[in-house]
């Protein structure tokens, strides 16, 4: 029983990072009906932004510390938000009126470009991510180990998810996002600047990817330029599983994939981990082709 609970905790911590990446995928898809394959690479850039920022921040304020971590997190998110907007401006906007497939192939190109540019500038060898979060005593409850990093991941994921919900449902730009998602032409006729809204969506999604990158690197402090490929793929699966276009769906999908993979690794064999995760995806899509929460118009930002 203790072992099972421990595996659940492991799965939740892993799944909540996937959820954070999945939200970025699903948000861009909700607005543009387009899978941004470079999302996993923005995740990687977020981690590297943290890697290069940490020593600079350490010169200004004590690190490791919670305040320092928040500053690193904030600046990395801002940097990646700008970068996400820039990628949209340079690579995707010129293709806005072209077939969806053109944009999709471009996204794969952007992804490969970032990965190999990363290898050129950062080096291909794995780097140690600095300890930016204070090491707390690991809480132990009756043989269970609850790692403070895992708690932080859960907490930050939850806060960001709620913040996102607020932006989408309660703010003016959120309303505009939902309008563009519903019908871009009609939204434009109503005076919504669709270009701005789309850029903002990319920036927001990229900021979330950067946050996920930092959280990932805090938990697994070995980062390299290709680190975004696998989590990106899994998060994409999570987004589809939860119903692509649905924010709570992406979060739920991330958790389901994370827990499934952990339980399979722990109880069956890690060799079948990915196979079983994808089998779960196929089963769910057979029963609900639009994903778990992917109902029409619900929460589609």
């Amino acid at each position: 029983m203790t072992e099972f609970l421990q595996q659940l905790i492991n799965g939740l911590a892993f799944g909540s990072i996937l959820a954070l990446i999945a939200i970025g995928y699903t948000m861009v898809y909700g607005i543009l009906r387009f899978i941004n394959f470079a999302h996993g690479d923005i995740f990687m850039l977020g981690a590297f932004a943290g890697f290069y920022l940490a020593p600079k921040i350490a010169a200004l304020m004590p690190l490791p510390s919670i305040a320092g971590t928040l500053v690193v997190l904030g600046i990395s998110m801002a940097l990646c938000a700008g970068l996400g907007g820039l990628i949209e401006r340079l690579a995707y906007r010129p293709l806005r009126k072209r077939p969806k497939l053109t944009v999709l192939i471009t996204a794969i190109g952007v992804s490969l470009f970032i990965e190999y540019a990363g290898q050129f500038f950062f080096g291909a060898a794995p780097k140690k991510f600095p300890d930016i979060l204070p090491v707390w005593q690991v809480t132990r409850i009756g043989g269970l180990s609850l790692n403070s990093n895992q708690l932080v991941v859960l907490g930050v994921s939850l806060v960001l998810l709620l913040a996102l919900r607020f932006i989408v449902l309660k703010t003016k730009i959120g309303t505009a996002m939902r309008a563009v998602s519903f019908n871009p032409e009609a939204a434009a006729l109503m005076g919504v600047n669709t270009d701005h809204v789309i850029s903002f969506t990319f920036a927001l999604g990229s900021a979330l990817a950067a946050a996920a990158g930092i959280l990932w690197a805090i938990n697994y402090p070995s980062i390299d330029p290709l680190m975004g490929i696998l989590p990106g793929l899994k998060a994409f699966v999570a987004a589809v599983l939860g119903g692509i276009g649905s924010l709570p769906g992406a979060a739920l999908g991330g958790i389901i994939i994370g827990v499934t993979e952990t339980l399979v690794s722990g109880y069956i064999s890690s060799t079948y981990r990915d196979a079983i995760a994808f089998a779960v995806l196929i089963l769910i899509l057979l029963v609900k082709p639009s994903g778990l929460l992917g109902k029409k118009e619900i929460e589609k930002v």
């Binding site: 070995s222 722990g266 890690s270």
Partner: protein, 383 residues
């Protein structure tokens, strides 16, 4: 470790050298005063620190030989190709080295899976190949042209099984294997045989795939099996993270593994979580044998970083080849092959090497421990 721009410049320079010598190679006697040796290595990618170390060792051997007048009066020219630590690349670059560059022998690789890609190609072309540090037995089983200067997994697995049973007094050991790596699977097999034969028990076996970052699931299952030690025959990239997560899950028993652990990147990632863990390897600069000390000193002087096992093996691979070419009196493939096969008691930087009938090196292993963020020499185990 070189930074990327430097590597890029080096690669560009290597390309210039290649194009520079391709032209005279067309003439009949222009290549008469050089001996071309091909090397394929993981200079970039996930096992880059291994590839770089090994390459530096080989480079040092080339420089020393050329400074002493070369081999058979000819200078040695090392042509190095990077396989980016990726599957599939080694076959391509080795084909290129053999067919378009016309090398007399091939040196490489660190990882067994990538040596296994190149070995059939060398065998088909009857070009002798020496692997510096691939320890999986299958590598030299490919054919009679394939050699190695390191010991093999059965020996290393047995050494660690004995060490775990006798020195660490472990009775019930868990194993965590990288199922994507021939090296790791092989080491697990031979460790298990040795440990079971000596009366030990295997508490649980768990797997991961090279490239994974999260090992909490496997480690939780291992913890539940309550072993008194954990054998992790993986590579440093994952071992550091495994140690960290084991510490966070409060696994309070020692971890130990093979030569895949030895890298300057291991401790920066694993940190204090690795203290008191053990691994077997080929070489320790703390070994006081004169040949080891001479190599360690020269390496430090040239590259301004301490030498490690991969560097020493890279060095030995070229020195062994040069020795065989000298004894053969020619660079012709079959003659060099025979001379290599007849190698006996060659004094290398990694100990005295004798090539056995299966073309493996019979030589000692050393066991190191991790203390205060560094590697400490414990003992040498003879074959």
């Amino acid at each position: 470790m070189k930074t990327w721009p430097e590597q890029f410049l080096a690669a560009a320079a290597a390309m210039l050298v290649l194009t520079g010598c391709n032209k005279p190679a067309a003439g009949p006697d222009a290549s008469a005063d050089i001996i071309k040796v091909g090397e394929f290595a993981s200079l970039t990618g996930s096992e880059a620190t291994f590839g770089q170390s090994s390459h530096h060792g080989t480079q040092l051997a080339v420089d020393q030989l050329n400074a002493a007048g070369g081999v058979l009066g000819k200078k040695i020219q090392l042509l190095t190709e990077d396989n980016q630590s990726q599957a599939g690349q080694s076959a391509t670059v080795v084909r290129k080295l053999i067919s378009s560059d016309g090398v007399v022998a091939i040196l490489g690789e660190v990882a067994s899976s990538r040596s296994l890609e190149a070995a059939p190609i060398c065998q088909q072309n009857k070009v002798p190949m020496i692997s510096p540090s691939s320890t999986n037995p299958k590598v030299t089983e490919t054919g009679d042209c394939i050699f190695r200067v390191c010991f093999i997994d059965p020996f290393q697995g047995t050494v660690m099984a004995n060490f775990a049973g006798k020195r660490l007094q472990l009775k019930n050991v868990a194993i965590l294997t990288d199922v994507k790596s021939d090296y790791s699977v092989g080491l697990t097999k031979f460790f298990k045989e040795g440990f079971l034969a000596a009366g030990g028990k295997i508490a649980v076996e768990q797997n991961y795939s090279g490239g994974d970052k999260d090992f909490n699931a496997q480690l939780t299952a291992i913890k539940a099996a309550n072993p008194d030690g954990l054998f992790v025959p993986g590579y440093y990239t994952e071992v550091g993270l495994i140690a960290l997560q084991a510490k966070q899950l409060n696994l309070a028993f020692p971890m130990f593994g093979g030569d895949g652990w030895e890298s300057s990147s291991l401790v920066p990632i694993g940190g204090a979580a690795l203290e008191g863990d053990y691994f077997s390897t080929h070489f320790s600069p703390q070994d006081t044998t004169p040949a080891v000390q001479a190599f360690a000193k020269d390496f430090l002087a040239k590259f301004h970083e301490p030498s490690d096992a991969m560097a020493a093996l890279g060095y030995d691979s070229l020195m062994l080849l040069a020795d065989a070419i000298k004894r053969a009196g020619t660079t012709e493939g079959t003659k060099v092959r025979e001379a290599l096969a007849a190698t006996k008691d060659f004094h290398g930087a990694t100990g005295n090497i004798t090539i056995d009938p299966a073309r493996n090196a019979s030589k000692p292993a050393v066991i190191l421990t991790i203390t205060n963020g560094g590697f400490k020499y414990i003992e040498t185990v003879a074959p």
